[in-house]
């Protein structure tokens, strides 16, 4: 059984990839995908990148997503609506710290619900 997947959305491609790097180094057995910046690497968020990231890590256990600033949230919500997937949760937690915590929880085989609860408790 796979673990809950993680999507990191940031206005910066580098920031999203860097956060993935930190999580990957520390936590195994969890799929983390970065969706940072616009298609050309400029600052902003890209609906396509977010959708692709969700699809990349999605599995039966679900996906928990993190975003950095307000406008990323709108694109994240839209991506979720459009994909019409079950079990995709957009977390209200700091993007780096939240993704790290969620990844550790996911690596322990925790369910999406348990991870969301842990995030709400911590942040």
């Amino acid at each position: 059984m796979a673990n809950v997947g993680i999507v990191v959305i940031s206005h910066s491609e580098k920031a999203a990839e860097g956060i993935k790097e930190i999580v990957d180094q520390a936590v195994g057995k969890v799929a983390v995908e970065a969706a940072g910046g616009l298609e050309d690497g400029e600052i902003g968020t890209s609906l396509e990148k977010i959708q692709a990231a969700i699809q990349h890590v999605h599995n039966d256990q679900g996906v928990v997503m993190f975003y950095d600033l307000g406008s990323a949230k709108m694109n994240a919500e839209m991506a979720i609506e459009m994909l019409e997937l079950e079990n995709v949760h957009l977390a209200e937690a700091p993007v780096l710290e939240g993704a790290y915590l969620a990844a550790v929880e996911a690596s322990m085989g925790k369910s999406l619900k348990e991870i969301v609860k842990a995030l709400e408790k911590e942040f």
């Binding site: 902003g44 890209s46 396509e48 307000g70 406008s71 709108m74 694109n75 839209m78």
Partner: protein, 206 residues
């Protein structure tokens, strides 16, 4: 009013023109209370819209709006992308199946667009966002149950100017709190261009 797919394209074309002409101005407004990319975002988005619309045929107004909506959503890159995208997507859903949109349906479409923006942005009137232009425009059109070019332009313009006095509580400008006062909201200015372009399209028809 008999609003057709051709008029819908004409509207987007005129909106694009205004946005490209005022790209730097829009960015400078965003520089003051946001991150300075609103002109770039809108210009990139509408450029992509024109590209799409120029390379396809459209039978229905709904198709033009849906294509424009999807393109803005995916190309703008800032908050205004999902917001204008949602607005046009809601409008396209409201007029689906109709070859010619009448005033009543057009007004309904605008109402849905406003509701969509509010829901997407989790914002209300008075927060110094584009809602402060969309809300009064929709209200005026709703009262009259007709989309009249002059009223449209005037309402949008004065609503846009009135955003200057508002303290932002949504979007990036909210970080500035009191200091956001005294500056126009960039998304309200581009919303004004959208409505001014629509007025021109309707006048060209009239």
């Amino acid at each position: 009013m008999k609003f057709t797919a051709d008029l819908a394209i004409d509207w987007m074309t005129k909106a694009n023109q205004k946005i490209q002409d005022n790209k730097d101005y829009l960015s400078s407004l965003d520089q003051a209370i946001g991150d300075g990319d609103h002109g770039i975002n809108m210009a990139r988005g509408f450029d992509a819209v024109m590209n799409k619309l120029g390379n396809n045929d459209y039978e229905q107004v709904a198709d033009v709006w849906k294509e424009s909506a999807m393109t803005l959503m995916s190309k703008v890159g800032g908050a205004s992308g999902p917001l204008f995208g949602t607005a046009l997507l809601k409008m396209s859903m409201a007029v689906k199946g109709e070859a010619e949109v009448d005033d009543k349906t057009f007004v309904e479409a605008l109402e849905d667009a406003l509701a969509g923006i509010k829901q997407r942005g989790k914002a209300e009137e008075g927060e110094k966002t584009m809602i402060d232009v969309w809300a009064p425009v929709v209200e005026k059109m709703n009262e009259a149950q007709t989309v009249e070019a002059g009223v449209l332009r005037d309402t949008a313009e004065s609503a846009m100017e009135a955003t200057k006095d508002i303290v932002a509580t949504k979007g990036r400008a909210a970080y500035l709190k009191e200091r956001s006062k005294g500056h126009l909201d960039p998304g309200s200015v581009s919303s004004y261009y959208l409505f001014a372009a629509l007025a021109e399209t309707l006048e060209g028809e009239g």
